[in-house]
Amino acid sequence: MKRLIASFQPLFAAGILLVVLLLPILGLTPNVIRILFITFVWITASLAWNLLGGVAGQVSFGFAVFYGLGAYAAALMINAGVNPALSFVGSAAVAALASFLIGIPTFRLRGPYFAIATIGVSEAVRVVMNNISAVGGAGGLRVTERGIFHQTEHYYSGLAIAVLAVCVSLLIERSKFGLALRAIRQDEDAAADIGINPFRCKLWIHAIAAALTGVAGGVFADYAAYIHPQGVFAFSTSVTILLMPVIGGIGTIWGAVLGAAVVTIVEEQLVAVFPQVHLLLYGLLLMLIVLLEPDGLVGLLRRMLRRMHVDPSSRGPDEALWGRGRLEGREL
């Protein structure tokens, strides 16, 4: 039975992929396509955060910086006539560069100090972006339309980056670099004692996560056609990016994906009805998760599976997907 489920999992993933590939052809309403597109963007950002926060254990409240910089970089490049796909690469590069500038001072701080410093980062970057008139300042930036608006094109770019993020996450989790990151998460000093340079590893994973988040921002900017600092650089953007993997199940790929899907749907439905309440609900949900189900939705699912006498956590190769470390007792 276990083995059956184990071999079932890649099939399951392939099935999902096939369905989402075909969805636009099935004649869904533009609104559904839009929600799916946003889900893909959030999945990318959520997986990116998970690489730094879940795998390497460095909690950041500042991912809006990379999301916003990616959005602005893509917007400016598209306006300058660069091919959108190429401009997304530019988004990644800008965000990665920013991650080094931020990481070099802040990774001298450990654990919760790093986390608080990232609140400062996002604040400072938003203030600066509000004041640079060349990119529109607080008024924001419009992305020039190129030809007719094809929603499915955006849909497939969103899907492509989400798949890219899953592949990057899988590669890292199964590499020796991923092993080193897990070691750093558990005990930074002991990791250094076996020759790992924690500072350098953290800088690199920060850069990879930032690049992915930047691409997500770029794809979003291309779709939204209008961005402004209070939106993409907002603290609530950072909060959303952090919440998705935590709600889904920190440190796991399925968790990050699931969390992103749930958050997008909840947000889309709630924002329409109660514009201000969604952050309140996020807060309550996060409190419940921390206190009651530290492994998030994935942990809940796993417990349900276990009740059916199937234990996905005992399967070796799928550890990257399901994860193993609980939130509880994790030291920063």
């Binding site: 254990g57 450990r110 919760p112 100090y113 409190m287």
Partner: protein
């Protein structure tokens, strides 16, 4: 810059430092005993501001008295929060992800409850005192800032005294230094933690009420001050009240004098800029807390 300008700025900086100290000290105390980084501090400060505001608007109670009332009210509130939420966290002598996220979540909840009650409009407390300026020859001092400064300093000194003299203070310091030994000698760590959290919250509410007299506020009020408090803690170290005072003074000086060189729009980024400079210039941290404190070798 003339000598008079300099003196005026210097006075402004010192007055600012007082309030910065009172807002940081609550976080420091909680961290020291419980190893919890209290992100909800920002939420408590916001509530403190609205606490004074509501008393003033509804009952015409002087905001200074409102701030004084905030101390006991938020003390009880903090103890309740500890009883309801924090005591369920797994115990650890090091900061954990769960505690960080829990406090962050609680902050989100407080902030958005704030939005539900008061909307996102900026409010301010305006009393006849607000615009009164004392002039001493060429030097002018805002009366309100002077009063707030003395209230803040008084409170911080009272705390310092309480920590060094009372039974509670001794028990608390014992817990900071050696939790295990403290428990053996009969210190009830749960009770101390509850009182400590109440104390930290009381100071957050008090600081929020004081700040509300000086600045306009919205439910997002605490965030910029949370970052300032953090910068102060990095500058001054996490464990002592005097370290906090030192950090507060440095930040206040930098912020006040930066007015001369930095455009107003960039002002909110100053505190973080200072943090970056400190981290780059003193990689091991002024208070030595950046690396050493984490895991005793």
């Amino acid at each position: 810059m003339t000598a008079v300008d300099f003196l005026n700025l210097l006075i402004a900086a010192v007055l600012l430092a007082g309030i910065y100290a009172v807002m940081s000290v609550g976080m420091t105390v909680i961290y020291g005993v419980m190893k919890i980084v209290n992100l909800a501090h920002a939420g408590f400060m916001m509530l403190g501001a609205y606490f004074a505001y509501e008393f003033f608007e509804r009952f015409h109670i002087d905001p200074l008295i409102g701030a004084a009332l905030a101390l006991p009210a938020f003390f009880l509130f903090g103890m309740a929060v500890h009883w309801l939420l924090i005591r369920w966290l797994p115990k650890s002598d090091q900061p954990t992800l769960s505690s960080l996220l829990l406090m962050f979540a609680f902050w989100l909840v407080l902030q958005n409850i704030g939005y539900l009650f008061w909307g996102n409009m900026d409010r301010s407390i305006f009393t006849p005192r607000t615009l009164t300026v004392l002039t001493l020859g060429p030097i002018s001092i805002s009366l309100l800032r002077l009063i707030v400064f003395f209230a803040a300093v008084l409170c911080v000194c009272a705390l310092q005294l309480a920590l060094s003299r009372s039974w509670y203070g001794r028990a608390m310091r014992a817990l900071i230094q050696n939790p295990y030994a403290a428990q053996i000698t009969g210190v009830d760590d749960e009770r101390i933690a509850r009182i400590t959290f109440g104390l930290g919250t009381a100071f957050a509410g008090f600081a929020g009420a004081l700040l509300a007299m000086l600045y306009s506020f919205s439910p997002d009020f605490g965030r910029p001050f949370l970052i300032r408090a953090f910068v102060i803690i990095v500058l001054g170290g996490l464990e002592s009240v005097s370290g906090v005072a030192f950090g507060a003074l440095v930040l206040a000086l930098v912020e006040t004098f930066s007015i001369l060189y930095v455009p107003a729009g960039y002002q909110p980024a100053i505190s973080f800029g200072l943090l970056v400079v400190v981290l780059l210039v003193f990689p091991k941290g002024i208070g030595g807390l950046l690396e050493r404190k984490w895991r005793p070798a």
